[in-house]
Symmetry: C2
């Protein structure tokens, strides 16, 4: 089944302890789509400028990603400049040139309207809500956000959260959003804001899934009401070259796996699929950081992904 | 089979967001012994002063812990004063009154010499080494340390590390000891310093086990040479009342389970026992933090421990 992802398609200029890169292909929707493409059909809604060349589009289309929803307009694409020299675990933003992204108004092609899975990558919550409302038939809606929207656009973000089956968010953002210091209490408070489930990312410490009663009901696991938390480890990575896009790649692997299983299961999301998806997301995140930009995901294979999945299961199961 | 633990038996005065306690029973050997007592026989070598009353000794003996190795001398017991008001995840030491612990010279009772399992809790590495040498027949030796010994007594610590089958250590200490920023590279570097395996503690993010070739050989799993890392999650705890002793309680549960299985398996440590022990350690650590001092471990039961073990398995296994 198809995922529609809406989000940024951008260029990143990066500095990490492993080196420096100028204007490599990036953006949340790019990383997400590439990661998800190993599992299912992906359609992208975004906007780029004249600097986005056919060679950039080919990175996505060569993996079968449908890019007809990427709007080309006059001007330059979104360009982010960041450094990981001080702290590999947290980017320091040196420049954010929104360019054509400043006026982004998502346009959903007619042919995308039957997408069953919707992923609202990290953009203005006003736009996230608009896209969600334009896709009333999406049967599963997931989304991401960031500290900027939590701090300055809280009210709009809360409207989006009520629409989400899955909120993908990092550990610090959970504490910020909930005003808590404990990770479990924090997650429960965020759940109470509306999303039916959370996937909380803790970088090298993996991810945690938190399920509301509504999500358990949606997954037919009411009898399993104790299982409100699930943890998946991260694949151990010795050489983190570039952490940019790790979270988006996680989300792509996670959601891509869920969508792929929708086909085989007549569309029913089960707890087992959800948990397995967390492992696949973890695998895609670990691959993404092993090279700059999209390099590593471009050259991986489903065989490598499945081998890493097996390794992740071995290192966490008794 | 019996564990001999050598370490501090002390009083702690604590302040946490949940409240304040004066002179509650504490010390690494105390927390370790209590946690391990739910699994196996434990013998303690330590030193206390006149303020250590029969009621304190009863906390241990009522759980079957053998305290004949606790030496009583004139003066006061080790007394630590700490605060978790700034940061629940890291204690701020307000006062360290070593008292009788300053001249601690471990004396091993004759009846303890047949202990198969030795645990060197966090004390001066010179003493750790002396105890290890006094117990040549111990078939498994594990130990703990802390930042103080890493920074100021590195050479002595390195001698102890070469004697250890298991070094229990926290994530920050691994990075400090290895001078690395990556958790996997750091652990591998520490392994290369001598301990046959590491159990690295990451507080609410659980623990990671790292196995050297020597440990894999000891566990008859040479054919499984890829399985050099294992991760166990932490039990989610919503109300952390007092983190003091969490690591020692982890170690007690971990090592206690290993020793208990030694009986049933004719003394052979297997990878499955090691991994399961990491889960049991995690359970004991999560219990310990739910009340001040030793309160929570005093009132838990093996049934509660096993229920939490089952929960931990459920929340981490596909």
């Amino acid at each position: 089944m198809s995922i529609l992802v809406v989000g940024s398609v951008a260029f990143d200029s990066l500095e990490t302890p492993s080196g420096k890169r100028e204007r490599v292909l990036g953006g949340a929707a790019t990383h997400f789509a590439l990661a998800a493409s190993f599992f299912t059909k992906v359609r992208v809604v975004g906007v780029v400028g004249e600097d986005f060349l056919p060679e950039h589009e080919t990175v996505l289309t060569s993996k079968g990603v449908d890019t007809t929803g990427i709007e080309h307009v006059a001007g330059n694409s979104f360009h982010w400049t960041g450094s990981y020299l001080k702290e590999l675990s947290e980017a320091e933003t040196l420049a954010t040139d929104l360019n054509v992204f400043a006026d982004f108004s998502p346009k959903i092609p007619e042919g995308y309207l039957d997408s069953e899975y919707l992923f609202l990558a990290n953009i203005d919550p006003v736009l996230q809500l608009r896209v969600r409302q334009a896709m009333p038939n999406a049967k599963l809606v997931a989304g991401d956000t960031m500290n900027y929207w939590i701090a300055a656009h809280r009210e709009n973000l809360e409207k989006v959260m009520k629409e989400l089956d899955v909120l993908v968010i990092n550990g610090k953002e959970v504490l910020m959003l909930s005003d808590e210091t404990n990770w479990v209490r924090g997650a429960k408070k965020v759940l109470a804001m509306g999303p039916k489930s959370l996937v909380v990312k803790y970088a090298e410490h993996g991810v945690a899934g938190f399920f509301s009663d509504a999500m358990l009901a949606k997954m037919d696991m009411c009898e399993d009401a104790e299982r409100t938390i699930f943890r998946a480890p991260a694949t151990p990575v010795e050489d983190v070259v570039d952490p940019t896009g790790a979270g988006d790649s996680f989300a792509g692997g996670f959601y891509g796996y869920i969508a792929s299983q929708g086909v085989e299961n007549g569309g029913k999301l089960t707890p087992e699929i959800y948990r397995t998806a967390m492992f696949y997301g973890s695998v895609m995140g670990s691959l993404a950081v092993e090279a700059f930009g999209t390099e590593r995901l471009q050259r991986t294979t489903r065989e490598e992904i499945d081998a890493r999945f097996a390794q992740l299961k071995e290192l966490s199961h008794l």
